[in-house]
Amino acid sequence: MNTEKIKKRLEEYYRTATPEQVVAEFEALGVVFDEVPQINMIEFSLGGTSGMVFNNDYKTWSDDFLVGLSESTVGVGLPAPPKNPPTQPSTQFAMAA
């Protein structure tokens, strides 16, 4: 296998292709795509704990794990989620590129 030549061709393609072109090429191969749903993400800070609200679900980082806040997490030192979501402007956020 001639790795360098193949890699060079791929890199040339990556340099020149557009996302629209990639989608069209896969659709020409018979692939039918779904649209990725929009996700509203709002940052919050509450009682010394900061995190994110995804579609009204409060989540914060605890020891590298994303933990959902609920009444049960109050016992382990995390705050209970507020009854009303934060009012700062939302950030439109598509899943990580």
């Binding site: 296998m1 001639n2 193949i6 061709r9 996302p19 989608v23 191969l29 779904d34 649209e35 590129a97």
Partner: protein, 189 residues
């Protein structure tokens, strides 16, 4: 420089319905098409590597007979020759890295257009990524170690992630497969 290409040769074994032999001898192989093919639309051969290519071709022909309803099989030996810059060798870490590089690139571009593979109907398949690599990088042969469900595995519905064979997926057979094939075995299912 474009002139430093090497020709690489493989021996492949193809197990099939014995009634296909005459057509293959006269017209060469036809690519298998459709969404279910593991590594894209191509002619699939077993080759040396994990296990024995002839034995795998025999097992495959006998397994396939139950679905395709034939009673006699044949194993065809073919010579495949292709330039080294048209081979994606997934037995090698270089080949795996190229594939993963391209897959990551594709998924990134799709996300930029807010697209995703349809989860229920048109699921993601490695075959589609390889079909795309053929178009953009001139790949014509893919070599890989894979797990294939042979007879007892199919009946027992066993699936494994540990490869049990090595196969070649050859595109453009008229350019890459020597039409002077050899019948190495015939038999009853």
């Amino acid at each position: 420089m474009e002139n430093d290409v090497k020709m690489i040769r493989f021996i492949g074994f193809h197990g099939t319905d014995e009634r296909n032999v005459e057509s293959i001898q006269q017209n060469n192989f036809q690519e298998s098409t459709g969404d279910s093919h593991w590594l894209g639309e191509a002619v699939y051969f077993f080759t040396s590597g994990v296990g024995d290519g002839v034995a795998h071709a025999r097992n495959w022909a006998k397994s396939d007979a139950y679905e395709r309803k034939y009673t006699r099989y044949a194993i065809i030996k073919a010579d495949i020759a292709v330039n080294d810059d048209a081979i994606l060798d997934l037995r090698l870490s270089d080949g795996l890295e190229l594939f993963n590089l391209h897959r990551s690139y594709i998924l990134t571009q799709l996300r930029r257009k807010k697209k995703e593979f349809r989860p229920n109907n048109e699921k993601y398949s490695d075959g589609k990524v390889i079909e795309h690599m053929k178009q953009v990088a001139g790949i014509e042969v893919v070599v890989g170690n894979q797990y294939v469900q042979f007879g007892i595995d199919r009946r027992e519905k066993i699936f494994s992630r540990v490869p049990n064979c090595t196969f070649l997926c050859v595109s453009n057979p008229k350019d890459n497969v020597n039409p002077a094939v050899t019948i190495v075995e015939r038999g009853n299912i």
